[in-house]
């Protein structure tokens, strides 16, 4: 099977896993798990769908940096509350 199709199936599986974890599980570590899964999914989209893995590095750093900064801030703001 083509690589893109595998990426797509992994993205679907991670999405369902995150949703089930959020609705079935409980614990202080849950936001870390759910935001971590979002980071993995986002990076897969950035690398393989947006094709930034082989783009000029500045663009990959900018978009991945956005992803990690926003998810990191959301996690920190939530944990500090």
């Amino acid at each position: 099977m083509k690589k893109l199709a595998w990426i797509w199936l992994v993205l679907l599986a991670l999405t369902i896993s995150a949703w089930l974890a959020g609705h079935r599980l409980d614990g202080a570590w849950l936001p870390l798990l759910v935001l971590g899964l979002a980071a993995i999914k986002g990076q897969l989209v950035i690398d393989h769908f947006m094709e930034l893995k082989h783009a000029p590095r500045l663009f990959r750093y900018a978009v991945s940096g956005w992803l990690l900064t926003v998810l990191g801030l959301v996690g920190v703001i939530g944990a500090a509350a």
Partner: protein, 202 residues
């Protein structure tokens, strides 16, 4: 025995392959980065609002249809996959396949829009609106703002499809397809951050 010119030509070709390629126009990427900045501000504001009123957000999250959020995420990821296939098809010179994958991507946007509207109809029918609570303000504001980007993305995909059918792209030159695809993936990427904030973390 290759001539000097042939050696130089082969070397130029090899270095072009090694060069890093930005898919689409530089202007589109500046636009994408500007969009990401706005969405980032919105998500961080949402996180602060949630931290200030955790109970309001927990109660509010129970009023929305979490399953619709899951299905819409799967639909957007699938649409993104279709559009990524469109770019690959065009690189192989398959303009017909490219326009079919692009239309499938736009179709996923239409399915997303129908589900999103049914969510709004259900919530508004149950008496909720922007002023119901801080959670509902952020829910309606953020998801509607994102929905407008889905609609713009669909318009872009359909415009690129029409140009593709007119034979305006080739395996060597399909920057327009890449620009449209990059915008569509940005709309998907932003939703992947919005999804846990609204539909998963209660």
């Amino acid at each position: 025995m290759s001539t000097y010119q042939e050696v130089v030509a082969a070397e130029i070709e090899a270095s072009a392959r090694r060069a890093r390629h930005l898919p689409g126009d530089l202007a589109m990427w500046f636009f994408i980065l500007a969009e990401l900045a706005v969405f980032g501000l919105l998500f961080v504001s949402l996180a602060f609002a949630r931290a200030a009123e955790p109970q309001v957000f927990a109660d509010g999250a129970r009023t929305i249809h979490a399953g619709a959020g899951l299905v819409n995420t799967l639909i957007l990821l699938t649409g993104s996959y279709f559009v990524a296939r469109a770019v690959k098809a065009m690189r192989g010179g398959g303009a017909d396949a490219c326009s079919r994958w692009l239309l499938a991507g736009a179709g996923s946007g239409a399915a997303y829009t129908v589900i999103k509207f049914s969510e709004y109809v259900q919530l508004i029918g149950a008496g909720y609106n922007l002023r119901s609570s801080t959670f509902h303000f952020f829910y309606f504001f953020t998801t509607f703002f994102h929905l407008m980007h889905v609609l713009l993305g669909m318009i872009i995909l359909i415009a690129v499809t029409l140009r593709c059918r007119r034979g305006l792209y080739s395996a060597a030159d399909h920057r327009g397809v890449e620009s449209g695809a990059s915008y569509w993936h940005m709309v998907d990427l932003v939703w992947l951050v919005l999804f846990p904030l609204v539909y998963v973390l209660l």
